[in-house]
C-alpha cells in the first residue's frame, strides 16, 4: 500500500467528524501526505487546483450574457445593447457577447458553466466593500478580515503544511481572499524573475536570510511582518525558480498581461508546485463612460487568454486537475447612463470553466422588470458557488470555511466530483 493510500484511509476513518476532508490529520502524517501529493498524478482531490479569475471594476453582466429575447434589455440600452444578429447564441433567450468567441467554443465542448444572477442579499455598490464581500465571503452586514481562500488554507494546513506557495496570486500584493491565520499564499507578479538579487562579494542570500530571520518575534509588529514577507519570498523563490526551468509550451498565448499571467500559472501547475489556488486579476471593467469598445476589448482579452490556458494545460496533460472560477465585485445597472456607460449594479453571471464541470446554463435568470432600485435581484448566492467548489471540487468542508451552510449547485460533473 502506498503512502498516498494510507493517507486516504486515515481520512476515510475520520470521515464522520464533520471536518474538512483530511484537515485533521495528525502532524506526523502530514508530511507524508503532502510529500506524496505532488508526486502522484491523476485527478484526485489532493492534486486539484482552483484558478480564481477576478474581473475587477464590476463587469457588465448584461452585456456579457445578453438576454436578447427580452425587449426590456433593448429599451434600457438604446446605445449599448448588442444587436441580436451579432450574438453567439446559447439558447432561445441568451447569447454571449461577440468578443467571447473563444469562450463559446469551450462552451460547445462542454467545458463551461455559466451561473446567472449571482449576487448576495442587500448588495453593496461600493467597489471596495463589494470586493471585500466577495473576497471574504461575508454577508453585506458583516465585516470579516480573513478571506475565503485563506480560511481554506488554514483549514487544510494540517494536510498541506505551512507552505507559503499553497496559494499564488499573479498580482503585486496578496489579495484579501488569501488573508488567514497562517498568512499563507504569496504574490508573485513575475515568476521568471522572482528571486532575491544577490549582491557582490559575499552579499549572498544566506546572509540576507540571517539578517532577516523571522524566527524570533520582536516588540515591533511591523518589523516582524517585513521579516515574514522576506522569508516567504525567499522560500517561494527557490521553489518557483526550480519549476520555471522545466516548463515548455507549444501554445501561443495572446500578447496581453492577462494571458501572460495565465501562462505563468500554467507553468507553475505543470511544474508540479503544491499550489492549490491561483489568483489572477483582469481589470478595467468599471465602464461608466464610452463602454462599448472598452468592454468588447476586455471580454476578448478574457476569452482568448482562458482559451490559450486551457489548450496549454490539455497539451501538458494537466487540464483535468484544474478548474477556473471567475467573479466580479458586481454587475452593472440595467439602464445605460448619459455617458454611454453603465453605473454600479448588482447580480452578474459567473463562469466556471474546465473539463470537470457539468456544462451549461445554471441558476435562475434574473428578471429585467422586477428590479431593486434599477438593479437586478440576485437568484444565486455567490457563497453557494464557493461551497460547491470547496466540497465537490476541492473535497474540503465548506461549512468550516464559510461559517454557514449554503445550498450547493451541481456544477461539478459526476466524474470529477470528490467522494
Amino acid at each position: 500500500m502506498s503512502q498516498r493510500n494510507l493517507y486516504t484511509r486515515r481520512e476515510f476513518l475520520r470521515a464522520g467528524t464533520m471536518v474538512a476532508a483530511g484537515c485533521m490529520i495528525p502532524r506526523f502524517l502530514v508530511e507524508l501526505a503532502s510529500a506524496t501529493a505532488s508526486a502522484a498524478g491523476g485527478g484526485s482531490a489532493g492534486e486539484r487546483v482552483l484558478v480564481v479569475v477576478q474581473l475587477a471594476g464590476g463587469n457588465d453582466g448584461l452585456n456579457t450574457l445578453i438576454p436578447y429575447s427580452d425587449d426590456v434589455y433593448y429599451r434600457a440600452r438604446p446605445r449599448l445593447a448588442i444587436p441580436r444578429a451579432e450574438l453567439l447564441i446559447l439558447d432561445d433567450h441568451v447569447g454571449l457577447h461577440p468578443s467571447l468567441t473563444e469562450l463559446k467554443k469551450l462552451f460547445d465542448r462542454g467545458q463551461v458553466v455559466i451561473v446567472e444572477g449571482v449576487g448576495y442579499p442587500n448588495p453593496n455598490r461600493s467597489h471596495f466593500r463589494s470586493m471585500e464581500i466577495w473576497h471574504t465571503a461575508s454577508d453585506s452586514k458583516t465585516t470579516l478580515s480573513s478571506g475565503w481562500i485563506g480560511r481554506y488554507l488554514d483549514a487544510c494546513a494540517a494536510q498541506y503544511g505551512n507552505d507559503p506557495t499553497l496559494a499564488i496570486a499573479m498580482t503585486g500584493a496578496r489579495p484579501q481572499a488569501f488573508y488567514g491565520r497562517r498568512g499563507l499564499g504569496v504574490a508573485v507578479a513575475a515568476p521568471g524573475r522572482f528571486t532575491w538579487p544577490a549582491g557582490p562579494d559575499g552579499a549572498n542570500v544566506e546572509r540576507f536570510r540571517a539578517m532577516n530571520s523571522a524566527a524570533k518575534e520582536t516588540q515591533n509588529a511591523s518589523l516582524d511582518f517585513v521579516r515574514h514577507v522576506m522569508a516567504d519570498a525567499v522560500l517561494s523563490a527557490d521553489k518557483i525558480q526550480a519549476v520555471t526551468k522545466r516548463y515548455k509550451s507549444r501554445v501561443t498565448y495572446p500578447n496581453t498581461q492577462f494571458a501572460s499571467d495565465l501562462r505563468n500559472i500554467a507553468m507553475m501547475i505543470a511544474g508540479g508546485l503544491p499550489t492549490k489556488m491561483y489568483f489572477v486579476s483582469l481589470s478595467g471593467f468599471d465602464t461608466h463612460a464610452n463602454q462599448l469598445n472598452v468592454h468588447s476589448r476586455l471580454l476578448k482579452e478574457f476569452a482568448e487568454g482562458i482559451a490559450a490556458f486551457i489548450t496549454d494545460l490539455e497539451q501538458q496533460g494537466q487540464s483535468e486537475r484544474m478548474l477556473v472560477l471567475t467573479f466580479s465585485e458586481f454587475g452593472r445597472r440595467v439602464a445605460e447612463n448619459a455617458s454611454g456607460g453603465t453605473d454600479h449594479g448588482t447580480a452578474e453571471p459567473v463562469f466556471i470553466i474546465g473539463p470537470g464541470v457539468r456544462a451549461g446554463l445554471h441558476g435562475r435568470r434574473p428578471s429585467l422588470t422586477n428590479l431593486d432600485n434599477g438593479d437586478l435581484v440576485f437568484t444565486t448566492d455567490f457563497r453557494s458557488i464557493y461551497a460547491t467548489v470547496i466540497e465537490d471540487w476541492l473535497g474540503a468542508n465548506a461549512r468550516l470555511i464559510l461559517g454557514h451552510d449554503f445550498p450547493k449547485t451541481s456544477l461539478v460533473n459526476q466524474k470529477a466530483k470528490t467522494a
Binding site: 503585486g172 500584493a173 508573485v188 507578479a189 557582490p200 539578517m211 511591523s222 461608466h288 463612460a289 448619459a338
Partner: protein
Amino acid sequence: MSLVAPVTQIPSFVWDTSKARHLLERAGFGIPPSAIQRLAAMSPQEAVESLVSYERYPDPYPQLQDLPPVDDEQMARKKLSQLSAEERQRLLRERRQTEREAMVRLQMWWLERMRTTPRPLQEKMTLFWHGHFAVSAEKVRFARLLYDLNTVMRRYAVGNFGQLVRAVGKSPAMLAYLDNRTSRKDSPNENWARELFELFTLGEGHYTERDIKEAARAFTGWTSRGDQFVFVARNHDDGTKSIFGRVGRFDGDAVIDLVLQQPACAEFICKKLWTFFAYENPEEEIVKELSKTLRNSNYELAPVLRQMFLSQAFYSPKAVASQLKSPAQYVIQLTGQLGTELPPAPITVAAMRAMGQELFHPPNVKGWEGGRSWITTNTVFVRCSFARYLLTGEPPQGARLARAERIPRRPDEAGRNPETSTIMRDAGVASDDMTMSDSSIDAFLLALANPGLPREPRQSVSLPFDINKFFAPYENWKVEKLVSSLTAYFLPVGLSDNQRRVLLDLATESENKSGEKAGLVRDLSLSKRQALMYLLLSAAEYQLC
C-alpha cells in the same frame, strides 16, 4: 492624560534626535539627514512650527514648463475632421507620445521637488491628497490637467479642507476621472457623487443610495472645456433634491456645504490623517479630539497637524518606527541619505511602478492602500534591486533575458537616442486595479539594464553613487565602529548582536594587503563596501520609518 496631550505638558518627555528623526520622517521624507540635528536642537514647538508654518520659507522650486496644452474637445474634433485619415493617425500618435513624455517629466519634477524642498510637509501633504483624491493618468491622459490638480493640492496642502474639496471637484482632471464631465440632467452619472461621499469626505455608512442619486443630480452641469471648469446651466438639474434629510434646490456647491456639515466628515479626514502620519486604527479619543479641532477651525488643516505632531501619542512606541515606508518615501529617503541623484527617469519611474506607487497612477479611485500593502513578496525584491543598483550600478541578473527583443538600442555616437522612448512605451502598460502587473517588473528590470536617457542625451550614465566618497571620512575607523555608525544613520531601530555579527563577518572575511583580516575601513575593497551597504539596506529594518 489625553493621548493627544501636547508633549510640552509631559514632564517625562525628552526631545532628542530619535524623536526629531521620527518627526522629520513622518512630516517629511527624513531628509536631509543633517536636519535631524537641527530639529533636535530646537524646542518641540519650534520644530513642529518649522514644518507646519512653511509659508515663511520661500519656495524656490520652478514650476513645470511647457506641458502640452489641452485643447477644447470640440475644437480639436473639428480640426481633426479636416485632416486625412493618415494625417489624423499621425497627429494622434504624436500627441500620445508627447503626453507620455510629459507624464514622465511630471513625475520626475515632483520627485525632485520632494527631494529638495525647503517645505517637506507641503510635499508630504500633497502626497497625502494625491492618494486621497486619487486621479489616474491611465484614464486622464493629459499631463497638464494632472499637474493643475497637483498644484491645487499643493496650494491647499495644509490650508482649508472645504476649499480643497471644492477646487478638486471643479478640477478638469477630477471631472474627467469620475465622469462628471459628461453627466447631464436627463441621466446623471453617479460616479463622482458616490466617491465624494464614500472616499473623499464621509466614508461608508454615512449616506444612503438615495443621497448619492440626488447628489448626482445636483452636480449635473459641472463640466470642463480644455483646462477650464465650466458650468453648463442647460445640463443642470435645478429641481428639488433631498440629501441627508434636507430638501432644497441644491447645486454642487450646496452639496459640498451639506457634506461639510456632517459630523462624519471631520472624523473621516482626521482618522485618515492620523493613519497616514502616525499609525493605523487610531484610538477613538484621538479621532474625536482632532476632529473637534478641525471643526472648530472651520476645516483649517494646520491646527490639526500641529496638534498631531505635538501629541504624546505621535511619539509613543506604537508610532515610532512602526510604519512601512511608501515607495515614494523609500526612494526619496534612500537617495537623500546616500546623497546621490535620482536615477535617470526610465529607471526611477519603472522602479516606482514596480514598487507599487507610480506617481499619478494610483491603482484606483481609493488611492494606494498603504500600510502593509507596500511590502509584498514582489516588492521586497524590487526594493533590494533598486538599492543594489544605486550602490553598484548593476542591473539585476536575467534582466537582459527578459524580453530581449524589446531592449532598445543604446544612444548613437551623436548622443541621439531615437529608440529610447521605447522604454517608456513598454513601461506604459496599464497598471491596473488592485494588481501590479508582471510587465511593471519587467519594465523595471529592462530600465535597469538600459539606463540610456530618452530626454537628456548629454546626462552621463555613471555609477549612481560614489561609495568611496561616502566612506572617505571613515577610512581610519575600525570596521565595528563603521557598522554601528552606518546602522544608526540608516536604520530607525537598532540591530541585534546576531545581525551585527553577520555584517561584521561579511566585512572582515577579506584580507588587507598584508594578509591580515580586515580591521580598518581602509582595508575594505570597493566590492566589500558595496556588499556591506547592500546587506544593511536589505535589512527589514530599513523598510521602516
